[in-house]
Symmetry: C2
Subunit: 310 residues, 2 copies
């Protein structure tokens, strides 16, 4: 299939969307930002074969879904609605990820993942090369107010929460997670101005909490006994004998929400959805990060978790 | 250098921009769309080592500049101002494109290329892998009016123009071209509603004109004697004995503007800038594309030029 034919196929498989006056096929796509606020939120994120997924065992659909959901998880982190996504794929000319049907399955999976949030896929770029599959997704979000929910607003005394449970996502959740967009919007609606800071957990709490604390110029105390540990972390622990709590801190790819809330707003967010929200600690003024164990003893923050190295 | 350190380095090397209330470092960046029109224009485009550039002979700066300018050329095609760009890079762990200084030079080149158009770089993503360098650029443009300059508005009787001269860009212009953003905005300002359709020439006139004609549901007659042939096309022709006019039609990567204009507006666009604008033909109602030679004989449209194949 030649480029023109694939572009035609994509255009034919792209539904009309009221927020997209100009869709796939022109030099750029045009997207309407809802409301009166002209603030556009932007994110770009890539997923690479044998880094973020493994085409020897994962399908085109799994790879595309993960690539889109990772980017949408950042929309959740900003408590915004995704207004549009674009995808760029460097397709291998042979081996895993090659061939027309793979590209079509990938495109349809990306589109379907976005459509779950009424988010149109408005642009794309495809190239063929002799290297492995690389998928890049860019997202445009529409801010619902001028007050952005950033990483930098946490205040001493805030209660720190995470959604869901952490650790062991490598057993499958890193491919099958659902971006917490609706949950984030409900938290913002319930807490209002008392929601001070939020981010999504992609590299593990051990790596991500320091980012929030640094951006906010604060410290934090996390109570290990309160950490919501996923059953997948216990499953891993049975095999590798690493404590499940360490998996919860370090594994990454949880794609859950981490947020800091004025304690007065805590009652507002009880039972918002079926997804558990757990208070795991407190923001402190001293700019230090500490893990407090069940006996009340404080330990320095562990330097573990996922970081790309060069 | 670890990921956190590189992110910190990037943040330190990113200038403040009045249109970016939230820049690099949070989950998403926030960009102000100017004016009262909340229409966001979006584009994504990738540049791959040994496909779009060759790191055995091209520098980080050349690769990054090309990647950004290709995307900005699409902003020119929509006659819009770029409001923000984001870059995603998959960096090799060894060989051409590896190492900290390469990544830094690449980032600074991307930033500088965008800054020429007062366009901030607001987001990025970096990963390391054992494959070649892949750069993906996403651009956000701010539409200046609700009337978008698309590929689909050409009308029978319109005069077809190209900017600059075509062919032979492989000799160096594919790396060093300047996106025609200012020129496009001047053409739009001078021609107003009489500018019916526009696109940028990336795959060669032979491939790109049919795209404009198909989108507009029209045909076209192009007069070969009027084609502005670049001196690089003549240089190539001396070596490969392919006529320079064929190079001008087929080579691609010209990144010039192709546009269709109501003939009444032709006097308005004379001498707008130093960049020549050449009338090369006429839009026709019959949906056929033809090349008319110097004797007035009509030839079928040549199926030549650049298309990615799979």
């Amino acid at each position: 299939m030649r480029e023109n034919d694939f572009l035609k196929w994509i255009a034919e498989h792209t539904p009309v969307h009221s927020g997209v006056p100009l869709g796939i096929g022109d030099d750029m796509a045009a997207v309407l930002l809802g409301g009166t606020n002209p603030l556009a939120l932007l994110k770009i994120d890539q997923c690479l074969d044998l880094v973020h997924f493994d085409l020897r065992k994962h399908s085109a659909s799994q790879a595309g879904t993960k690539a889109v959901n990772r980017c949408l998880s950042d929309c959740a982190a900003m408590a915004c609605s995704p207004a549009a996504i674009m995808i760029s794929v460097a397709l291998p000319n042979e081996g895993p990820g090659s061939g027309e049907s793979f590209a079509q399955e990938l495109f349809l999976a990306c589109q379907a993942a976005a459509a779950k949030f009424n988010c149109p896929l408005v642009g794309g770029d495809t190239s063929i090369w002799d290297q492995r599959l690389a998928i890049t997704v860019a997202a445009l979000g529409a801010a619902t107010s001028n007050k952005l929910i950033t990483r930098s607003g946490a205040k001493p005394g805030d209660t720190i929460f995470v959604s869901g449970a952490l650790g062991g996502s490598i057993l499958g959740r890193h491919l099958s997670f659902s971006p917490r967009i609706e949950l984030a919007k409900k938290i913002l609606a319930a807490a209002g101005e008392k929601l001070h800071a939020m981010m999504d957990l992609s590299d593990g709490l051990a790596q991500d909490l320091p980012r929030l604390a640094t951006a906010s110029n604060v410290g934090a105390e996390i109570h290990t006994a309160n950490l919501p540990i996923h059953e997948d972390a216990y499953t891993l622990s049975e095999n590798d004998h690493i404590p499940a709590g360490l998996h919860a801190l370090a594994d990454g790819e949880d794609y859950e929400l981490l947020f800091a809330l004025d304690p007065e707003a805590v009652p507002n967010i009880v039972n918002l959805t079926d997804i558990p929200l757990t208070a795991i600690g407190t923001v402190t003024a001293d700019k230090k990060l500490a893990l407090v164990d069940e006996t009340g003893k404080s330990h320095p923050w562990p330097n573990i978790g996922w970081q790309h190295k060069s």
